[in-house]
């Protein structure tokens, strides 16, 4: 372009790597562009500002870019035709008739001027096929013609095809030919390959070709190997005895066990302090190095440790795993006998018990059981073939068959809780345990792939079952006590599943409580099952960890129970004390501080006092200093006080307070107070090392020393009282001022340049991604705003210019008109004067 129109933006410094977009500008060009644009848009708008009518373009598809121009034309034509359809033409012109040549419309022939794309046929490589030449150039001799259209010739002659059709046909044909050629080539390739293979097979034979007769003989001989050879081979390949580890003596075993426990203890301590949790995440403490990660846990005593006693194999595990039978061979024949005998004894015992039980529950489970037994029998038969453990036992003692038929040996893992329940229904607790054990063994994860998932489900079922037992009218706590063992074993096998199930239960319980609080404003203590679950949690998981996926939520839930639930009855007090015990047990090892526990104990002492005592302490939430539900633990009856004996609180009272007389209730109250004293003593021992021990225990001490009527209590209770008080009073007060940890000294400012990695030139580096995005957005907004302001300014200038030019135009027009008028007036005047002069003359 014209160098005089170019404006160069000179840069002060050359910066490496910076892209410059605007170093050269064309002000003239861009200005004229802008003006043109404005005249097209702004000026139009300006000119039409006073107009209300709009110009509409009704041409079909004029502004539709989707339709191609050709189609547009066709559609327009069709529309035009539609409009004209039916309207009689006023002239009688022969427009409908078509001119033809050889039966083809001339107009169409004229239109078809497109050429067949011969390039698409790459096979031909420039040479033209006969058909093509025929079509284009009218064809050569008749021979070619005939070849091209052999069958259809007659038809063709009758009804000549249009040129387009002909060409299409031709293309199709050439394609088909191409396809055939390809097929032929492929089949040839295949044949070659086959031939190759055949050759290879024969080749070996040819290489050392024996005479024909010999070959035949050998073929006959071959299938008969020598028997001697066979034996030799067999002996050669047979497993040789390998040196194994020396059998360990009992001392060594004990030592190992001790080392293992020590390691576990160390792990527990580390977790309790909550340090470097991440560092040791890779190797869970309780998994041994030999673990195949199949869920088979060696720590547990399910692996029989082989040891000797008095020269004989020491058989500690009477209840031998059937699996072991496979591994340990004939030497264990005697042992197996023992085992089966024992088992049969057990069975017969079970039978007896069951007989007793069967009467009472016969209506409930008779048909279920018979069905089940039938199924069990079947299964057993089926099992004989693939697994021979139960089979073994039976074969050895055929006479024992009858008693063992009471309990099937194999169990499928129940799929739903209902089937699980029906499996256990009506059995004695020992039988239930055996069933559970057998389910576990028959479906050990190492036996089949799906077993792990199945057994994981079993954890949930077992927990649910325990909960159900606890919610019964007379809770079967003894059964629960036993069922905890298989639960523990399962938990050791599937920690994740167990933790998930318990978390699920806890979440449900907490959710229920939250709902009750939202609706009623205050909660009530949950049932015995929840308490049992909390207790089980402490059995299955270490409660001393700094953070634990199950125990920490349990802690929070218990804290909610102690602070949110109202205490209206003696049962509530017992439940609360139970949770206090739980808390103490949870923190017994880690000695963590539980404020709720002390507050609750203060509250319990508070409700054991008569109303309106002089205070000196405050009680917090579930307890109120005044109002209802006070004196729940107050005992006034002298006789009851005297006749009290320390008794264990039966847990069943939690669900249902027996129709006890006043004396019994009073005794229970006194037991609660005794329990409270004991808990105070225990927590005092636990928390003595806390720096503000005395502040924590102050309300308790005030209550004990000033308010509790010790002298009225029976002697035994006084003993409890004094031992608690002693724990509180003997601790000496000891305070040391706090000192902060020294913080690292702030390093001096360095004057070496800060080196920052430049990732992309021209972009601000600092800040996170989010920050950068924000900055970018701000910058873009600024730029847009500037641009918009500039545009608006220019628009206004443009408008002002046009307005000015309009005014100028108007003015000049007016001036011209005035001049004209004045001119005409002047001529008039002149004429008039001239006339006058003439007259005057």
């Amino acid at each position: 372009s014209n160098p005089f129109e170019v404006k160069v933006n000179r840069q002060k410094f050359n910066i490496l790597g910076r892209k410059t977009k605007n170093d050269v500008g064309l002000p003239g060009v861009s200005r004229s562009k802008a003006i043109r644009k404005r005249t097209q848009t702004l000026l139009k708008e300006y000119k039409e500002r006073g107009k209300t009518n709009v110009f509409k373009d009704k041409r079909f598809g004029e502004y539709d870019t989707k339709i191609s121009p050709e189609e547009k034309m066709i559609r327009r034509f069709a529309l035009e035709r539609q409009q004209n359809y039916g309207k009689k033409n006023i002239y009688n012109l022969n427009e409908d008739e078509e001119l033809t040549h050889y039966g083809q419309s001339l107009a169409e022939i004229e239109k078809l001027n497109d050429i067949v794309d011969s390039d698409s046929d790459t096979e031909e490589k420039g040479t033209l096929s006969a058909e093509l030449t025929a079509a284009h150039f009218g064809g050569g001799g008749g021979l070619l013609r005939k070849k091209a259209s052999s069958g259809q010739q007659d038809e063709e002659e009758e009804k000549p095809k249009s040129r387009k059709e002909l060409i299409e046909e031709m293309i199709a044909k050439s394609k088909q030919e191409k396809q055939e050629r390809q097929n032929r080539r492929e089949s040839a390739l295949e044949l070659t390959e086959k031939l190759d293979n055949d050759w290879k097979e024969i080749h070996t034979l040819i290489a050392r070709k024996p005479p024909k007769s010999e070959r035949k003989d050998k073929e006959v001989e071959k299938p008969k190997p020598d028997e001697y050879d066979m034996i030799v081979r067999e002996l050669g390949f047979e497993m040789k005895a390998k040196p194994s580890e020396r059998m360990k003596t009992e001392e060594e075993l004990a030592k190992e066990e001790q080392a293992r426990l020590q390691k576990l203890e160390a792990d527990r301590l580390r977790r309790m302090r909550g340090i470097d949790e991440d560092a040791n995440k890779k190797k869970p403490s309780h998994v041994s190095a030999d673990d195949l990660a199949d869920g088979f846990i060696l720590d547990k005593d399910d692996r029989r440790l082989l040891s000797y006693k008095d020269g004989k194999i020491n058989l500690e595990n009477e209840d031998e795993e059937e699996k072991d039978n496979e591994e340990e061979d004939g030497e264990e024949g005697g042992k197996e006998e023992d085992e089966s005998e024992e088992e049969s004894e057990e069975e017969s015992a079970n039978e007896d018990e069951e007989d007793g039980a069967a009467d009472s529950h016969s209506d409930l489970e008779s048909d279920v059981e018979s069905e089940e037994e039938a199924a069990g029998n079947k299964e057993r038969k089926k099992h004989k073939t693939n697994e021979n453990e139960s089979h073994n036992v039976k074969e050895l003692d055929p006479e024992l068959k009858a008693p063992t038929s009471e309990l099937p040996y194999t169990f499928a893992v129940p799929e739903s809780f209902e089937t699980f329940k029906s499996l256990l229904a009506g059995r004695t607790i020992e039988q239930q345990l055996t069933i559970l054990e057998r389910i576990q063994k028959c479906n050990h994860p190492s036996l089949a792939v799906g077993n792990k998932a199945k057994l994981e489900k079993l954890v949930g079922f077992l927990l649910e079952y325990i909960g159900e037992l606890a919610t019964l009218d007379s809770p079967e706590l003894k059964a629960i006590d036993k069922l905890v063992l298989p639960l523990y074993n399962l938990c050791q096998m599937f920690p994740e599943a167990a933790s998930d199930s318990i978390k699920f239960i806890l979440r449900d319980a907490a959710h229920d409580m939250e709902e009750v609080i939202e609706v009623k404003g205050r909660a009530t203590f949950p049932g015995l099952d929840t308490l049992i679950y909390l207790k089980i949690t402490s059995l299955l998981f270490p409660t001393s960890d700094f953070w634990h996926p199950v125990v920490t939520p349990a802690f929070i839930y218990m804290s909610q129970l102690l602070t949110k639930c109202r205490i209206t009855t003696l049962q509530d007090v017992i439940k609360g004390l139970f949770i206090c015990c739980l808390f103490l047990e949870y923190v017994s090892f880690s000695r963590r501080f539980v404020p709720e526990l002390i507050s609750f104990l203060v509250g319990v002492l508070h409700i054991s006092l008569p109303k309106k005592q002089g205070q000196g302490y405050t009680v917090v939430h579930p307890f109120t200093p005044a109002g209802k539900n006070l004196e729940l633990l107050l005992v006034c009856d002298k006789q009851d006080l005297e006749s009290w004996q320390k008794q264990h609180l039966p847990l069943s009272t939690v669900t249902r307070l027996k129709e006890a007389n006043r004396t019994e209730i009073n005794h229970m109250r006194l037991s609660c107070i005794a329990l409270c004293f004991d808990l105070i003593k225990k927590s005092a021992v636990l928390y003595e090392s806390l720096p503000s021990f005395h502040e924590i225990m102050r309300p308790v001490r005030i209550l004990l020393t000033q308010h509790v009527p010790v002298n009225e209590y029976p002697e035994k209770l006084q003993e409890w009282y004094h031992s608690a008080l002693k724990e509180l009073e003997t601790k000496e007060k000891h305070y040391t001022p706090l000192i902060c940890e020294k913080k690292k000294p702030v390093p001096l400012k360095q004057y070496t340049p800060k080196v920052v990695k430049v990732l992309e030139f021209g972009r601000k580096q600092a800040g996170s991604k989010k920050e950068q995005e924000r900055k970018q957005l701000i910058q873009r907004h600024k730029r847009e705003l500037k641009g918009a302001i500039r545009e608006i300014r220019k628009d206004n200038q443009f408008l002002a210019r046009t307005q000015l030019s309009e005014i100028m135009e108007r003015d000049s027009a007016r001036k011209r008109k005035v001049k004209e008028l004045l001119g005409s007036l002047a001529t008039q005047e002149g004429e008039w004067k001239a006339m006058k002069r003439k007259k005057g003359k």
Binding site: I480, D481, P495, A510, F546, P553, C581, Y735, P737
Partner: protein, 437 residues
Amino acid sequence: DALSAEQKYKLWMRYRYQDCVGYLAELMHHDAFQVKEMSLCTLMNFVELEAQYPLVEVEWKGTVTFPRELLKVVVDGLLPLHEDASLLISRFQEYMEYDDIRYFVIKAVTESIGQVMQKTKERPLPFYQQNVFSLISPINMPNKESDMVKFMAKQDNWEELKVSKLQAHKQAFEKMWLSFLKHKLPTGLYKKVLVILHDSILPYMNEPTLMMDFLTVAYGIGGAISLLALNGLFILIHQHNLEYPDFYKKLYSLLDPSIYHVKYRARFFHLADLFLSSSHLPAYLVAAFIKRLSRLALTAPPESLLMVIPFICNLFRRHPACKVLVHRPNGPEDMSEDPYIMEEEEPSESRALESSLWEIQSLQNHYHPDVAKAAAILNQSLSETEDDISGLLELSAYELFDKEVKKKAVDVPLEFEQVRGLFGKKNDIFAEHFILD
């Protein structure tokens, strides 16, 4: 005799109409809710029609043609003395959207309170007061005069009338509340009033300072009521130049173990944060607050602890002079007693500055891992920036539980001690006191 037949007919009709209104007013006390609702709606229809076609000719331009007597009948029906009418009142709320109806209802309620309370002579009427409260507490006052556009009936000279002025509305509103609060309220209602006082009553009063007496009395009652009165009092102090002697002393005495357990915990700590945000407070005062808060924290549930520990940290940041509480390098080696006096009412006498925060040190052993971590922060020197506690104020125990339950664990450590039964652990506490029976 002088009346024409048509006039007589009209007169007769007028009497029938009044009878009808009387019956409907009686039906407002019917047992069935549907009947009550129907009569309420019918009466309100009458109100609307009467407002459009007044029964009495407009005598001069300044009079309002609104049927105030009829509305009074409705309001009396809505406020029975001896039963709870909250259902009917909530049905009535849709009419309160109209600015003119609201205005006249406010006036009618004021009148009703005057009459009823006069009669009963300070004898508390819990149902009546509850009804009045549920009628007037949801009143949604307009903020600007231009918002007042929804009227049931408009007259020609509308702009000149009082009904169209926001000032008049505010005056009536204020008068109504003052007459309501003048009488003794049941505790529950007291709390409810205080809860809504700061954002739906005070801003719509012409003279918020008139509430001063009420608030001062409430603040003096103690307990939860004092906590709630704090909010209204804060508005008066902050925006209306109220001088409150010994404010901080009173605030200090409000701190008792229940503050960590009550429902209004979030509101209280929000305000306490505001009050203690001034950097001009003397160090002894702030130290006393810190010490008292942490002493009380020894009985607090974890959700409160998670809030109060950052709160205390913020106080340290604002008042560096208090840092002696956590860092006293040259102090006496061994003390036999905590110098801080918990029972002292006067913060300046409590000797808080001579003490140390052993309570927070004890909380470093708290069972909840987050609390223990938060408490351990005070061992180190604090960062400069304040923690934002606004998100922690509303923390509930259930949220805390939910958060923990949802955490994903990589592996689950297990108990290695073999189980021997439910109570089978070594030294099991349960075995000593409970039996499985």
